[in-house]
């Protein structure tokens, strides 16, 4: 087996007296789709926060693309997020005053990589996600539309890993299927890996592996 893109060993994350992650082990390989499930409040978003290097206050070992996240500097972690990962956050985290295209282009613009090709890619992804490419600020979009804008933003930089926190929570069944059809097709095309927090059984069925977070530890449900 090839080297994992992410390798986490005995990850611990404590909030006060509460051990949310209590020695979680995790690995993610090139092109793999791993789903994480678990009850509400069990720590799935916390796990993604740690794996996505947004939360540096964890214990244990976390290697991402050969970089030890526990020892990496803030600019190194930012580079990992920028060059290596795409994020679909549970609350989308779009800038409400920007339109869909500007939100999608946000990482590229602020990284100085906003080229014509990137703009074309962004427009293509938006259209594949059935989103209007107009000047409507995202604060006026429905939750489902904002979810799709967030998905488009995560994909536009051609990440090696897509991290998605309940990416279909605001979507109807059809949109949910459409989104994962698109993600699957892009995954096959570009070869990125997905780690997603999911609840939908239909989508879970598409995953290569399903991990359940229980009492701070990840348990494999089935391959």
């Amino acid at each position: 087996m090839s080297k994992p893109l992410i390798s986490a060993r005995s990850v611990v994350r404590v909030f006060g007296n509460l051990k949310v992650l209590n020695g979680a082990d995790f690995s993610l390989y090139e092109g793999e789709f791993v789903a994480v499930t678990g009850k509400s409040g069990v720590g799935k978003s916390t796990l993604l926060g740690v794996l996505g290097t947004h939360d540096p206050a964890f214990g244990g070992e976390l290697i991402i693309n050969g970089v030890n996240a526990a020892e990496a500097s803030s600019p190194e972690l930012a580079e990992l997020r920028r060059e290596f990962m795409g994020f679909i956050f549970q609350d989308f985290h779009l800038l409400p005053n920007l339109n869909a295209l500007d939100n999608v282009l946000l990482p590229a613009v602020f990284s100085g990589t906003d080229t014509y090709e990137v703009r074309e890619d962004a427009a293509t992804i938006l259209s594949r996600l059935d989103l209007r490419n107009d000047n409507t600020p995202t604060r006026f979009l429905s939750r489902g539309e904002r979810q799709r804008v967030a998905s488009a933003r995560a994909l536009v930089n051609n990440p090696r890993i897509l991290m998605a926190d309940e990416p279909t929570a605001s979507l109807d069944e059809e949109s949910e299927e459409n989104l994962f059809d698109l993600l699957d097709s892009l995954r096959r095309e570009k070869g990125f890996a997905i780690i997603a927090v999911l609840h939908s059984k239909k989508i879970l069925a598409r995953a290569d592996r399903i991990l359940e977070l229980k009492e701070g530890v990840l348990h494999e449900k089935h391959a």
């Binding site: 939360d55 540096p56 206050a57 997020r81 602020f110």
Partner: protein, 427 residues
Amino acid sequence: MKNMRKAISLWNRGHWKDYVFSQGMLLIASLLLVFFISIGLGVGNILQRFLSSDLPEEQVRITPLGVQAGFFQTERGGTEITADIMDSLAALPQVDRIDPQVYAHVPAYLRGLLGGRNYYTDITLEGVSDAFVPDSMLEHIDWNYTLSDSSVKPLPIILSENLLILYNAGFAESSGLMGLTPEGVIGLAVRVNVGSSSIASLQSPPINIRAEIVCTSRNTALFALAVPIEFVEEINALYLPDDRHTYSALMVTAHEAEDVPEIVRCAEEMGLSAETRRGIAQKAEILVSVVTAALGALAAAILFSAVASAIHTLVADLKNRSYALGVLVALGTRRERLVYIFAFQIFFMSFISTLSGGLLGCGLSFVVSSTLLNLLPVLKMAVSTLAVFPVGWLSAGLGLVLSVSTVSAWFFFRKILATPVTELLRR
């Protein structure tokens, strides 16, 4: 920097009003700072100008407490300066020279043409020595004059500059006459009538003579026209031969400036009033200090609130964007890109706002100064401008406003960047 314009445009979308407001507050703070410094110093200057005296440090002007010169005639009372008193003072070892001054106790008036219109006023004449003629003009002015000279030369007159100010502020303005500057009155030909005025006349027939204003002084009595002393003594002897000879003032010159306090003490012991440069300066200083302190306090209060508002809006603007900063950091934006944006938005634009505010403040001071000088000729006669621009102080003030606001914003920005992303995204 690549995409910088686009990044700044995206960064400010939906925040332009707040941003423009914060920069506007900075602009107003700078404008007020420059305006108050400039106009405050200008007001200080004009007060100094009105209250200052040319009295040399080693001179003391001694006057009787009860004698006042009015527009129409003199009043007597209290201790007067007699020849004995002058001799006593002259005997003091500290005294180098005494130049006496004498009022003409004779009614008189002046008539002339000012700005093409007839001008008439009752006057008091005061005889003074050539000590009142500025050194630079001594060789051009013949300060010797007796009645026998009336057919060959005009009576030289020294005009009080403070009288000019009063003329400009009162009579000229209300009568629609043009204002006069010290330079403008020199050479003005008038006629002086001695022996009668609008309210009094003596038995002897009046004498009408040509006169000319030869220079101005800040040290002569306010309401009297200074003329050669021998002329006044001649007039007094002619019209009031039995009148007691007294002096209106003595200009006492000490050997050294350090001798002045002793002369003052002696004069005051004799029941006389003594005025020195230091005394005048102290009075002027107190008044100027009170006025400038009041202006300064007002300026400080306005400036403080403007700077506080500028800082508050800059910081509030950043606070409103802490979520957006969190999103950018979460997506892996390089911190130096965010610092560039901050540097442009806060440091560069605040510099531009402060500079613009400073320039607008200069412009406002200039406009206010010009307007006030045009509305109040008395000010125009005294100073050429009310707006003073001390570049060093203004730069320091503007630098302080800029650094206080931007450094506060910078600390807040650093604080946001140091906050964990997960916390920023929760806001």
